[in-house]
Amino acid sequence: MAEKEVWITGVGLLSSLGEGLDTHWDALGAKRVNADEKRLAPYVIHPIAPVSFDAQIPKKGDQRQMEMWQRIGTYAAGLALDSAGVKGNQEILSRMDMIIAAGGGERDLNVDLAIMNADAQGKLPPALLNEKLMNELRPTLFLAQLSNLLAGNIAIVHGVCGTSRTFMGEEAASIDAARIAVARIGAGQSDIALVGAAHNGDRGDLLMLYSFGDFALKEQHTSVWARRNNPGFAIGSAGAFLVMESREHAEARGAKPYAKLTKVVADLAKRKQPGAVTQSLQAMWPQLGVNDANAMLITGATGAEPATAEEREFLGQHPGLAVRATGTTFGHTMEAQFPLGLALAALSISRGALYPANDPTGLEVEKTEAPTQIVVLGVGHWQGEGMALVEAVK
């Protein structure tokens, strides 16, 4: 049975650059970057742009039940549904499938720090940990932390109620979210799906995990391609959501595609071996069937090593490609890395142009032709690799 064509018919973006597709297109054209080197200095972050959440999350009660990452995601999901023209369409939303890539929610850093300081000063007998947690944690905070509650909030606020699956596992979670959605639609197991992720980089508690591995960029923001002597990623903030549907389903409701999502492949390179990432990318590349001379590539390269060096080696083998790294502009948005790349690829194809390079090292080159094929590349900072091919609908 021939696989069904999968169209991207809705794109929702909220990031450190602002909200909506026009805002992003203009900011990318102007090479605007919103990085903050002070707020959590010495760590560089990309905070979410100011936004009034009321526009997509009208009930204040709903907003209060969420932490920032959930608000970002629920907001961007609403933008995607609007953009696909299905917002409020109960018939479609009630059978829409949802695959979210999610990490965890913000912790109450004040409570955590009080406990850690008490312990460090020898004032925290084991029994007191319970007492502090029982008395000081906000009861509903748990719901703002649970990974699957971003999907839960999207269901509550927007009524996306077919199925709801939350994948976890940093960058790979979002590659697999797209891969499974495309496979299901391609095989006729699903007609329409909402796929995406959200990430809030303005979080000291989140930096903890990445500080353990010394992955966080410090001191100064630079292009991800210029971080050889100061490697690391600046944690980014973004909600990136896509509405994907079968061509038949889109045509039947008169929906216009931004692009088609032809293929998504994923891998788990054995990174203990040097060069494994490069080899993984080399092995995946032929599965896309891309013509190097015409293709463009949007990568989520993080700037963390050795992953980025291995990715750069792979890119060096394809010198004709026009490359864009989202990490420079948006920072590393972790679970949102891959849907952000897909969103920008679909946006570029729909606007008939690839946005300009933003890279003093010269790795990114200008390309003026209208894009017909854009490869989206995701390499996890620690594990997981994947690629997707986004194409113009003929």
Binding site: N117, E131, L143, L146, N153, L207
Partner: protein
Amino acid sequence: MTAPRDKFGRPIVVVTGMGIVTSLGGGKTDNWKRLSAGESGIKTVTRFPLDSMKTTMAGAVDFVTVDPFSSTSLSQRLAEIAAEEALEQSGIGSKGDFPGPLFLAVAPIETEWPQRLEVAREVPTKDFGIIEYLATCSGGKFAHFHRRFTFGSVALSLAETFGTKGSPISLSTACASGATAIQLGVEAIRRGETDATLCIATDGSVNPEAMVRFSLLSALSTQNDPPQAASKPFSKNRDGFVMAEGAGALVLESYDAAIARGARILGVVAGCGELTDSFHRTRSAPDGKPAIGCVRKTLADAGMEPEQIDHINAHGTSTPENDKMEYLATSAVFGEHTKNIPVSSNKSMVGHTISAAGAVEAIFSLLTLEHQRIPPTINYEVPDPAIPFDVVGNKARDAKVTAVMSNSFGFGGQNASLILTREPA
């Protein structure tokens, strides 16, 4: 001869290996023996101090130890034990070389308190803030915490150990996670992407903060004494669920592939269904419509009529709301047939294994089919008159069982159901 495809023309998905760990013990033999004897695995928690806790019991798996302790490491170890048992029974592939993908249901991961505090004790400044704390995190001394507490860490380790193929998927659909892992495996085989999948669901979450979190949501039973009587699904005096640990692993294969290699078929995953409840973050819609829709979707996916279901392995958490809603939804779908269906909740004995529950209970459902004996719902002393299920109360019941529906309903509106049968339809 049985048709190699189901009535919708899809590859039939069969189970060829199962492994299980719960508070009742390790392995299918021990678990089944104790489960069908109506024994409880719920005990007073000894893993950490219980001061200030409203709930003091759980179905912790204390006979498996990891050092240093973290819930993440315990979850991983439980998953390994269950997977080893499943793979040995299945005989598929070879050691460290499983010929298909991994779908892993696992609780969300974060750095845990013992590790947070270990770092805190190294911070050189007094009254430190987050930036000083972060400075101590970095430098490589605690790099192993990054490896341990990334969300993908358990799946990465399991994929390496068992040699599963491709990108392993870690998922959470709260209390429905185990069922979702199976559903993803079924879908992959039906798409023809693979002949086999390894579906594992694990949970080792009995730690102070997890217990506090559920406790603050008033979700847990506080009937601490005696602990083994706390979980009482469908009873009038039920007051919450009991947290528990465990893991279940299933090797799923296409019927064709299993037959071709001469594998013993343990059962069939005849249908899966899922429908989201958008009513509230922790409560289900009062009319039960999403759960009703979930059960109907599952029957439709299996191509079966309600009358063909002869046992329900209930979600049966023992929370006031879940059990009531489950009856409402079930009776709406099954109508007059409801009273003919023996219903039981494994959680009365093993507690709520949360992320693992869907797989643990699917395995118990398959063992029910194998033994033609329905495990009891223990502590069923004061039946709730508002839930007139035919509850298999307190003693196991021998019965002809051909098709079991196993339900999972979780926080965040996550509803998932499975239909398991002995033979291909």
